[in-house]
Symmetry: C2
Subunit: 258 residues, 2 copies
């Protein structure tokens, strides 16, 4: 049983190579990753077109399989079709850019780990808080530590770990904090432009704005120089609202509405 490595920045991303080197110190690795960048694809899967798989040799670094689909597709394909037996662990990253707060829901990196967890394999997403190549080695070092820990302790069914690492040299990291998903807003807007043929088009712009500063939030931990580890699940029921919703008497109203 090997470790499956994937990402959403594509098989040629630098962060993936760092993760491969770190995981090779633990066990045999299999790399199955998108053939191009797939950021912000959320938990997309490809149903309406076929998927292609190409064997890639990263010049002595590693062999891997590049897929034409999304990160979730890559994990499904790896586990259901490419690997002879399921992996011991799915690890996704090292993503260029943090996946904290509201941005979790858009994250291909996290969705790959979610897919692993849905297929009953312990899974981890690892992101570095930088938009340009940065201190990948810090993130790789922690990835190895947390991967070993997950292999030793296991994870409960339906729970994965979302890890975010500050873009700092190792000796400047404040420590490791277990966190909750913070609340954030996006102050996004669309910039309107006109193409050379006179047609309008729109670019999405804007940044994430953390809207509260609770001590245990991933956003804040990261900003303060801590490695953030959030346990994540994908049961989306808002349990706290079930009671109030029952009081809406929808069944009675529906039957009375003729």
């Amino acid at each position: 049983m090997a470790i499956l490595i994937t990402n959403d920045d594509g098989i040629y991303a630098t962060g993936l190579s760092f993760l491969v080197e770190a995981m090779k110190r633990i066990d045999e690795v299999v790399v199955v990753a998108p053939d191009r960048e797939q950021s912000a694809v959320g938990h997309a899967i490809t149903l309406s077109s076929p998927l292609r798989v190409t064997r890639i040799d990263r010049n002595g670094g590693f062999f891997g399989f590049a897929t034409s689909g999304t990160p979730a597709d890559a994990v499904k394909l790896a586990i259901r079709s490419i690997m002879p037996e399921p992996p011991r662990l799915v690890i996704s990253g090292i993503n260029l850019g943090a996946n904290v707060g509201g941005s979790l829901i858009y994250s291909g990196t996290v969705s790959a780990a979610t897919e692993g967890s849905m297929l009953s394999v312990p899974s981890i997403a690892v992101s570095l808080d930088s938009r340009i190549d940065g201190h990948f080695q810090t993130a790789a070092d922690f990835a190895r530590l947390i991967a070993e820990k997950v292999l030793e302790k296991g994870l409960p069914e339906g729970i994965l770990l979302n890890v975010n690492v500050p873009n700092l040299p190792r000796d400047q990291i404040q420590g490791v904090m277990v966190t909750t998903q913070g609340k954030t807003n996006f102050n996004d807007f669309f910039e309107e432009r006109t193409d050379p043929r006179g047609q309008r088009y729109y670019w999405m712009c804007g940044t994430m704005v953390a809207d509260d500063g609770r001590r245990d939030h991933d956003v804040r931990a990261l900003a303060e120089g801590y490695i953030s580890v959030t346990p994540v699940h994908y049961n989306l029921t808002a349990k706290g609202f079930l009671g109030s919703l029952s009081e809406w008497r929808l069944d009675e109203n529906w039957k009375a509405d003729v």
Copy 2:
């Protein structure tokens, strides 16, 4: 303030027309929807390419805006750029195919409503449990009822409603049930084929398998002929595991690991 209608089956889908007719009985409507089918796109947003918007006249049915992006893009564009003021309500559907259990995470229909909720607008996703055109009128009737209810009562910040309607004539509906997201597995596999140029490709296959039968689960309610209404949130922290994870002593281990 109007009602914003979107979907993931695209602006030409029959389910959208039924939803428009139902919402017109409540208020003014604005339709902003993908220009083609976008099923299983999850909560994808488009960052790496510009978005196009085309004004569409559905032959006396409605005017609307077709977007080149995903359902989440459509909602963002509508609220941030197309509409002069935010809508009173975002309603997404009527999707062809149920969005219950594990499939919620892949659903473009639900992600559109999630995006509405993230932008602080009360939001509803509506799906019909049929893969071919079916009893849309039943779903449209309930969509009107639940939309009126949401406009009257409001929804808490960060909570949306996921509605699934059995594919039955109205008089065969058993009633309305407030439900939780059920647990399901996918027995998916990949069918390997060879294209006319001798290259291999893969089709994703398989179906959803409900793996438990709790009375209050969306999967079961729907199968028994009830309209299912699930309150959904998008805070993904697995709170129940925070304590155990803290006992892993990650901070100590990290500092000791040199």
